[in-house]
């Protein structure tokens, strides 16, 4: 059955491997994926653990529906204390790794210690072996996977790996799989690097028994039609996530030249439709019908003729809007480099754009940049800085440390120009006109984050009646809701609801693009209840799934509180409140976030969670969610 996959404890210091079953009790409390990882992280680390030390754990998991007959169940989750923020570190990637890991018999890996020399894990049908990584250490993401497959003589092996950036402990290094499936944000690649763990290779042929196969297939057909018939899926299937650019930049919701402007004017040359000329078709992850990943060849420049996949919406921000560049080749090359070095696109784009503003202001000079002209719009400088950060050369070594450490090293007034929350940079979105989106990044568990609670559909101007249908289940809600995305009313509930929605799919292992992230008519708690039952036999009502999401979100909060998080960390940098937007449509011009109203939103958000004014869980909340005995060490 789908629920008999095991958990493995791997100690890289001693070489000891131990496997255990996962009890039904734990499944019903945390499902799997990010949910159970929250439990494992809280239970397997002590407060103040060094994120790059041997006592931090690296958790790798598959969602509970991964590899079943449910669509888009491809997601791998990786967690640990973040080397970037010092808080909850977590990332989620698509591709084919997680299904293969389940077919190899495992749902969760708990990796601790540090190997004496570089190693990789080989997991095959219930067996786990620690192997020498001398042939792959120092290699890029692509080569690492090819070498392992070649050495083992099996092209079907799936590999998650770090690139050079992870080996060099760049604090926002990714874990990667395939060409471009990226486990970005919070530096989980550096966590693997700190353990001398280069990669994990898996191959499995153990069937997952589907509990009610006929119904599971029949029902999934409905889900597929629901998803593929949506306009947003068809746009995505044609243009990938780049399609979002049309709406956001047209209105003025794009952070440009670090955070100086909110729109990239006259940027027709980097629109998704322009990129279509370099692409030749789309591809997708395991079990997905949308296929949002473009295949392309770099048309020009030093990397002309190189194949890669993507770029994503975030790549336009990182390599165009934020550094003020306008050449498509820079986006395609930048995307290729971060994929192969294994680095977070969003963070690196933000760090380079920040350095460019410091250069403009004279805080950084040619002496600091070793003569590199870091002016906004210098396409070559963007590419050069990607290399320098991955290899930790010169200024790159400082920028590799992430927003707060880099600002401390550079000093002067440099922190003033950072756009971060909890020490993690945001993507290239400008949330000054959109309080709901601003609340999401301010309060997300892993720092400034658009994937943990963002009500992106707030930008669609949906009729209030539609919003009410979506946001009034599975928990009744009768408070205000408004189509106006500049409003503050009711937005804290939307953020709270989306936080539960995204946590639920992260536990299930479903891609967010198959939920109410970009598409208002996409599946949610009701559908997941059925998918779970047909595929695994686990009987949980929509409300019970919601409660699991609440529990796991709160456990992430408890981890952060244990690491010293305070209410003041759920906040935005001053520019959000003090520097009005300058461009875009009239609705978006001259916008800042109102401090008092924002404080009130945070109060409401805490109240929905059952947290006190300081953002700590109230005793009754701990009890209601069964968290009052944590850490309970049950697994």
């Amino acid at each position: 059955m789908a629920l008999n996959r095991k958990i493995a404890y791997i100690d890289l210091s001693s070489g000891k491997v131990e496997t255990k079953p996962i009890s039904m009790e734990m499944r019903k409390k945390y499902l799997g994926g990010r949910g159970l990882d929250a439990y494992l992280l809280y239970n397997n680390t002590k407060a103040g653990v060094d994120p790059l030390g041997p006592d931090n754990v690296c958790l790798v998991s598959a969602g509970i529906l991964v590899g079943t007959l449910a669509s888009a169940t491809a997601r791998t989750h990786i967690a640990g204390k973040s080397p970037l923020t010092g808080y909850f570190g977590s990332t989620n990637m698509g591709g084919f790794f997680a299904p293969e890991m389940r077919w190899a018999g495992f749902d969760h890996l708990v990796i601790r210690g540090k190997a004496e020399k570089p190693v990789y894990l080989w997991i095959h049908n219930g067996e786990i072996e620690i192997r020498d990584a001398k042939d792959i250490w120092g290699k890029g993401v692509r080569d690492t996977q090819s070498i392992i497959r070649e050495e083992m003589g099996d092209r079907e092996i799936k590999v998650m790996t770090i690139g050079i950036a992870g080996e060099n402990l760049v604090r926002y290094a990714n874990v990667m799989t395939e060409i471009k499936n990226s486990g970005g944000r919070t530096g989980m690649g550096a966590l693997l690097g700190s353990k001398n763990l280069k990669a994990i290779a898996v191959r499995g042929t153990l069937d997952i028994k589907i509990e009610h196969p006929v119904e599971a297939l029949e029902y999934n057909k409905q889900i597929i039609s629901q998803i593929t018939s949506a306009k947003v899926s068809q746009e995505q299937g044609r243009l990938g996530t780049l399609f979002i650019w049309g709406a956001t930049n047209s209105q003025g919701l794009v952070r440009t030249r670090n955070f100086q402007l909110n729109q990239m004017e006259d940027s027709d040359g980097i629109e998704p439709e322009t990129f279509e000329d370099s692409a030749f078709g789309m591809t997708g992850c395991f079990g997905c019908q949308v296929h949002c990943r473009a295949k392309y060849i770099i048309p020009d420049g030093d990397y002309k003729g190189t194949y890669d996949e993507g770029p994503e919406y975030t790549s336009i921000g990182a390599f165009a809007a934020e550094p003020g560049c306008t050449d498509l080749t820079t986006i395609l090359t930048g995307n290729h480099l971060v994929n192969d070095y294994g680095m977070d696109t969003l963070e690196i784009g933000s760090m380079i754009a920040w350095a460019m503003e410091l250069y403009e202001k004279g805080i950084l000079t040619d002496k600091d940049t070793d003569g590199l002209d870091l002016s906004f719009g210098n396409e070559k400088a963007v590419i050069e800085m990607i290399h320098r950060i991955a290899h930790r050369e010169g200024l790159g070594d400082i920028l590799a440390e992430g927003p707060l450490r880099a600002a401390e090293k550079i000093g002067k007034d440099s922190i003033r120009y950072q756009v971060h929350v909890k020490g993690m940079s945001n993507l290239h979105s400008d949330e000054r006109p959109t309080p709901a989106l601003a609340l999401g990044i301010a309060t997300a568990s892993r720092g400034s984050d658009h994937l943990r609670s963002r009500p992106a559909i707030d930008l669609y101007h949906l009729p209030e009646a539609v919003l009410r249908q979506i946001y009034s289940q599975p928990v009744a809600y009768e408070g205000p809701l408004t189509s106006d995305y500049t409003d503050y009313e009711g937005k804290s509930w939307q953020v709270f609801w989306q936080e539960m929605c995204y946590m639920a799919v992260d536990c299930l292992g479903i891609c967010k693009y198959h939920t109410i992230f970009l598409g208002p008519n996409f599946p949610n708690f009701e559908e997941w209840s059925k998918l779970l039952y047909y595929n695994t036999g686990l009987e949980l009502t929509p409300l019970e799934i919601w409660t699991i999401a609440e529990r796991t979100n709160d456990l992430e909060r408890m981890f952060n509180l244990r690491e010293g998080l305070a209410r003041s960390d759920d906040w935005l940098v001053d520019a959000y409140f003090d520097e009005p937007t300058k461009l875009g449509i009239p609705l978006i011009r001259d916008r800042v976030i109102d401090r008092d109203k924002f404080k009130q939103m945070i109060d409401e958000f805490y109240a929905f969670h059952g947290w006190d004014e300081q953002g700590k869980l109230k005793p009754e909340t701990l009890k209601r969610l069964g968290l009052d005995k944590e850490p309970s060490h049950l697994l």
Partner: protein
């Protein structure tokens, strides 16, 4: 959705419309919302740009499929001019 344990398979309630199926009935093809006034507008087939009949903002249009128009970007000059006019007027009114 009514949900009772052990009755999900082949039961009446399992066939009841879910929230997302209900909201999907409001989908429209051939139209998009103007990104300035949010009016739902229908550009002529294959149009490369279209001026919103309600607010006058003009959008460059692309067609991911023959029935799905999308806003590719603004007609910069038109929208900048209109925005400047609106902002100047608002300033004049002390807004």
């Amino acid at each position: 959705m009514v949900w009772r344990r052990g009755r999900l398979i082949l039961s009446e309630e399992s066939r009841q419309e879910t929230t997302s199926e209900r909201t999907a009935r409001g989908r429209t093809h051939g139209a998009f919302r103007c990104l300035n006034c949010f009016e739902r507008i229908v550009p002529p087939e294959k149009a490369e740009s279209y001026k919103c009949p309600k607010c006058g903002f003009e959008w460059r249009v692309s067609w991911p499929s023959p029935t799905i128009p999308r806003i590719r970007g603004p007609v910069w000059e038109t929208n900048r001019r209109l925005t400047d006019e609106i902002m100047a007027k608002e300033k004049g009114q002390g807004k």
